[in-house]
């Protein structure tokens, strides 16, 4: 379903000057830095998998996700999703995926949630009957009925995230990209979101790619993790096998991950 091979991406980033002298200098000669966001990234994901894509901040997670969503063109390498190259057939590609950015909302701030959903129906050209079936299912699965009439700005973060999840699945995509979907949520909401991801995967057969820093998400949902650090894949396999050594010391999961990142030299 998803095939990624030797993906490479280098950014040129301009450094902001700090002092007045430097500021003047940078007018003449902007100093630039090469950042290798992805060095050689390869993996493949089968239909119906839930894969955790983990790694420390700045490891290249978002860059990979952006490439897979068609937002970013890599320097070289192959990315095939359902046989399509995301950035070459953007519209056809994105019609079949759902994306949740945990830190950004896709709902219209000032109007009732249901209006945002209807906009999305028109954006994705979902036929009427399909839309009502999909909506009904999502509303009951996520317990949205009391929220639909409220504007997004008045929702709590947990309520909003539930609506975001629904918004990303209205058009019944086969693949769901979740970028930190549980960030900032309280315990109840986290559990609800996890349960829903699990259910969407089981009942709708949605392939889920999940990035998160919360290892409890990973423990609860994921059998396979891909670990990226400094732009390279360092591990691809079962989560328990990755952390078994650390767990034996009796440390908590966060400490285990921190130690692991340290050992790999990517902390």
């Amino acid at each position: 379903m998803i095939q990624v091979e030797s993906l490479r991406k280098t950014y040129l980033s301009r450094r902001r000057a700090s002092g007045v002298g430097q500021a003047l200098l940078s007018l003449v000669k902007p100093s630039r830095e090469r950042i290798e966001a992805l060095k050689d990234v390869s993996f493949s994901i089968e239909r119906g998998e839930i894969v955790g894509y983990i790694g420390p901040n700045g490891a290249g997670k978002s860059t990979t996700i952006k490439v897979m969503c068609g937002i970013l063109v890599p320097d070289s390498g192959v990315c095939l999703i359902k046989g399509r190259v995301p950035w070459k057939e953007r519209a056809a590609h994105v019609a079949g995926i759902g994306v949740v950015f945990g830190q950004r909302s896709q709902l219209w701030w000032d109007v009732p949630v249901i209006d945002s959903f209807e906009l999305l129906r028109d954006v994705y050209r979902v036929p009427g009957r399909e839309y009502s079936a999909s909506l009904e299912e999502l509303v009951s699965a996520l317990d949205l009925s009391p929220l639909l009439g409220q504007p997004a700005r008045s929702l709590s973060l947990g309520q909003r995230m539930r609506c975001e999840m629904a918004a990303s699945l209205l058009h019944s995509p086969d693949i769901l990209f979740l970028d930190e979907p549980t960030i900032g949520l309280d315990a109840v909401s986290k559990l609800a979101v996890r349960a829903f991801i699990e259910r969407a995967n089981r009942e709708r057969g949605v392939t889920v790619i999940l990035t998160t820093h919360d290892m409890h998400d990973i423990e609860a949902l994921v059998s396979r993790v891909i670990l990226i650090g400094k732009g390279e894949i360092l591990y691809d396999g079962g989560f328990e096998a990755l952390v078994a050594g650390g767990r034996a010391t009796g440390a908590g999961i966060e400490a285990v991950m921190a130690a692991l990142y340290g050992e790999m030299g990517i902390a």
Binding site: Y11, C69, I71, V73, W87, A95, V99, D110, E118, Y124
Partner: protein, 259 residues
């Protein structure tokens, strides 16, 4: 089309939700061109003429410009606000949706309070149609309509150009205002009062004169003009082309640099 209507409904709903804000903005949208209008009429009251143009004639110029600008703002605000769309990540969201990018940028920022300027411009235009003493013919009326529409295209193209520019840098974007706000300010007076270099620039580089001053000369029946002048506004459409190309180049660059 259906999607556009949906965007419009959403904008209406969202903006009417905050009545006080909506009324304040709408008031401002009426008051701004009105205060300008007051200024112009006071100047005419004092001096009587502007470079040989009567008040009615000059207001025709003002009305066409205001209506064109209002139409552009009503529809293309998303491009005017594009730096914010880029900064808050909305553009990434737009990229993961299976619709045209321009349509989505347009739809995300429809601003209904801009009707205020449209109304003021429309009223002034209607008044000036009489006050200018023009003997109206179907061709002349059609010319005014074409001027307005093509004027709106020129303003919209400038907004798009500014948005394309925003892909490169967010510094210095104020420069775009020279041509949008500045263009509006300038085009609302008859172009003949300006220095030659300015007239040339706004005829051949950004064709404000073609959508406003020059065809107006024909409408007013100035000597040496003919019906061919009625077609000049079409030059405004030609201006849209490079702006669209710049936008495309900008989006290409965005997906290859991610910033």
């Amino acid at each position: 089309m259906r999607l556009l209507l949906r965007y419009l409904r959403l904008a209406a709903k969202g903006q009417l939700r905050y009545r006080s804000t909506f009324y304040l903005t709408a008031f401002a949208q009426i008051a701004m061109p009105l205060s300008l209008l007051a200024g112009i009429s006071l100047l005419f009251a004092r001096f009587g003429t502007l470079g040989g143009w009567s008040m009615g004639e000059a207001l025709l110029c003002y009305g066409v410009t205001q209506v064109a600008f209002a139409l552009a703002e009503l529809s293309s605000r998303g491009f005017d606000n594009f730096p914010s769309i880029l900064a808050n990540g909305e553009f990434d969201r737009i990229l993961v949706r299976p619709r045209g990018l321009m349509l989505q940028v347009l739809g995300s920022r429809l601003d209904l309070s801009r009707f205020g300027r449209l109304i003021v411009g429309g009223i002034v235009l209607a008044w000036a149609a009489k006050g200018s003493g023009v003997e109206w013919t179907p061709l002349k009326a059609a010319t005014i309509a074409l001027m307005t529409l093509c004027g709106a295209v020129v303003f919209s193209s400038l907004f798009v150009l500014g948005a394309a520019f925003a892909f490169l840098t967010t510094d210095g974007l104020e420069l775009v205002n020279i041509f949008t706000d500045g263009g509006r300010e300038m085009a609302q007076y008859p172009m003949s009062i300006y220095e030659r270099w300015l007239r040339l620039f706004f005829t051949f580089v950004i064709p404000f004169a073609c959508v406003n001053y020059l065809p107006l000369l024909f409408v007013l029946g100035r000597p040496g003009t003919g019906p061919a002048y009625a077609l000049l506004p079409l030059a405004g459409l030609a201006f849209a082309l490079p702006c669209l190309l710049a936008w495309r180049a900008g989006t290409r660059r965005y997906v290859s640099t991610g910033s």
